[in-house]
């Protein structure tokens, strides 16, 4: 005998009513504060809307302008991609190197671990403000460069160095997180694997390449997914350190979105948000598809 869907739902509710009741609150909150705004935002992205006057439906014109004609958006997309590539190219590497070092029997290991993790715990705005002072014309960075006879510059006011300076700050601030995650993963690798490799004559490099790295694969995938998603949403440190300047040389996608918000172009800003969403969804899909499937 076939059971109707309605009846099946009824049976499920009767069976799991307590569980449904417990998740009711979070579901309502998520729907109100997450899904409805998301759907509304997509609807707004199809309009020209100042927030005060009624929205005017423009179809996909915002997307068309954004992708085909808006050089500022393209610039912010390129900047953000550079931020992601350089930041994710170096941050996790520093995290892995420091984790490998801390995984040895070094003195003051706990102290080092705390020191590496301290910037992660510090507010990004505070970190950015301190680094802004370091990069100042009369700041520590230029002082040290002058002492060793190297040329100085106004790091955050030079279009060639502004973005790079922010990346250095971001990597410094963030790699402690990767260190701690990698360290935990390294300590979970069974010692037997290393013993077996040594019996087979594997040297240190071979043990790292054939034992450590494959064992860390799920963690690496997780770190890159979190890292890339987070990096594409970079905003705070750029807002504090350069405001996206000079000449848009450090503007990010979220910074550009924010600017459109201040221009009272809510429809256009929503379209920027959805393009960012599409980029993140694509990256997440590709990473899980190619690197994380078997995990």
């Amino acid at each position: 005998m076939e059971i109707s869907i309605g009846r099946r739902i009824g049976m499920a509710i009767r069976k799991y009513h307590m569980a449904y009741l417990f998740i009711l609150g979070p579901v309502i909150c998520t729907t109100i504060f997450f899904f409805i705004p998301m759907i509304s935002s997509f609807a707004f992205s199809l309009t020209e809307w100042s927030g005060i006057q009624p929205p005017e439906f423009v179809g996909f014109a915002n997307y068309q302008k954004l992708i085909l004609h808006d050089r500022r958006f393209i610039k912010s997309l390129i900047n953000t991609t550079i931020f992601v590539i350089l930041g994710q190219g170096s941050g996790p590497a520093f995290g892995l190197i420091s984790a490998l070092a801390l995984n040895q029997k070094v003195k003051f290991r706990a102290g080092f671990r705390t020191a590496y993790f301290l910037p992660v715990m510090t507010s990004l705005v505070v970190v950015a403000t301190v680094w802004k002072m370091l990069y100042n014309e009369a700041g520590l960075v230029n002082f040290l460069l002058k002492r060793v006879g190297l040329p100085t510059t106004r790091w955050l006011m030079n279009p060639r160095t502004a973005l790079l300076s922010i990346i250095v700050t971001s990597v410094w601030q963030g790699f402690g997180f990767e260190t701690v995650i990698f360290l935990a993963a390294l300590q979970a690798i069974p010692k037997e694997l290393y013993e077996a490799a040594m019996i087979d004559g594997a040297n240190a490099w071979n043990r790292f390449w054939h034992v450590t790295l494959p064992s860390l694969r799920p963690v690496i995938v997780m770190i890159y997914i979190i890292g890339i998603i987070g990096s594409y949403q970079v905003f705070d440190q750029i807002y504090v350190m350069t405001g996206g300047g000079p000449i848009n040389s450090s503007q990010s996608i979220v910074g550009y979105l924010y600017n459109n918000f201040t221009y009272m172009k809510f429809g256009y800003a929503s379209a920027v948000a959805y393009v960012l969403f599409a980029i993140l969804a694509l990256f997440s899909y590709l990473q899980i598809r190619f690197f994380g499937q078997e995990e």
Binding site: H17, M18, L21, F22, L24, G25, I28, S50, G51, I52, Q53, K132, N136, E137, R154, L156, M157, N158, P159, M241, T242, G245, P246, I247, N248, N259, F261, T262, Y263, M264, K265, F266
Partner: protein, 440 residues
Amino acid sequence: MKKLLVLLSVGLVVVLAACAAPATPVPPTPTSPPGVTPAAPTPPEVTTITLWDYYGTATPFQPEMIAAFEEENPDIRVKYESLDWDAMFEKLSVALTTGTPPDVATVDMTWVPTWAALGGFADLGSFSGGEVNGVPFDEAFTAGSLEAMTYEGKIVTVIEDFDVYCLYYRADLFEEKGLEVPTTWDQLVEVGQQLAEDTDSDGVPDKYLYGYWPDPFRWAQFLYENGGEILNPDNTEAIFNRPEGVEATQFFIDMVNKYRIAFDIGEEEAIPPIKDGRIVMYADGPYMMGVMKDGAPEMEGMWGVALHPYSVQRGSYLGGTGLVIPARAANKEAAWRFIEFAMRVDNQIGVYKYSGAAPGLKAALESPEVSVPDPYFGGQVTLPLFLEATETAHHFPYVRQWNEMYDIIEEAVTSALLEEKTVQQALDDAVAEINALLAE
């Protein structure tokens, strides 16, 4: 189990109810024992108005001023909320959008174009009858201020303090070196070169300079002084790439790159380079008098103020702080009563007294409490100079695209300053972009 379910359901309802907006306050009703008729008359219904203020602790809306207003208006209570300048912009943007704005807010006059063009502010003419405290608007404010307060024939804001740029200069150094305060651009270069010093012998002067940020406020000073304009009279086309605009921008960047008399202050605030002697001249508004007194009190007597040197004519941007009533405010009449109270001479003097800024009301500016010799500026009576500067000042164009135009102009000027583009190319690109925006 049923009990648990009921308990959880009640809990959920309570949580959701707690999330709901508070009910509109109802005026307190006097209670009396049954059968006894109350002798006292029913108190008037109390309206609470919300005031959002970005002045901070140096606000002219001091608790005593608000208390005096409430005493005089027992039917109105003021809910005062202090916000940062940045936070105000964001919060008011959201509030105007969602229809939950305050009844009165302080706004930077440069924000007015966008919001006024979108119909975000109430027409104050409809409450005021064209007068503030019985004085017609055109007598209460200077012509420049009144123009800045007006959008498409409607008064959309009342200017609480005005901002117009004059030249701040180190009077002690000028005296020591026997220099006259420059009145023209040529003299500015001449004096600047006599003042500038290269302390680290790298060929670039680094002390006793004219300091500026390459933003539209400072750039517009030079544009106007050279006879240029940002937009044409009907605000449909950008025209600052015309010869007078190109010349002005060229001079603006040549002060740094060619004459070596100026420097871009960059990411710093003004006070550190003022204190360490990198800045000995700069253009800014009257609010800086208060900032300098707070930030560099040890420099008392060392500074002077003069009208800014010009090329063809005097000119400056005109801005400041305005008081607005949002179009969707709940208590507009009560809000206007508060604005009128704030615009009384005594309360406007508080703008100078507490904020160190220039009161918007002419009568307050001319009062003996405000136009007094200022020991910080060597006993100079400074505010009349700023008042004089308003006569030739221009507010930024009243178009809804102004915020975006601001960023485009800043980018163009910075590109020219950093020699990424020629002045003509930078301005042409910016004009093309702005014209496309205006055409939307």
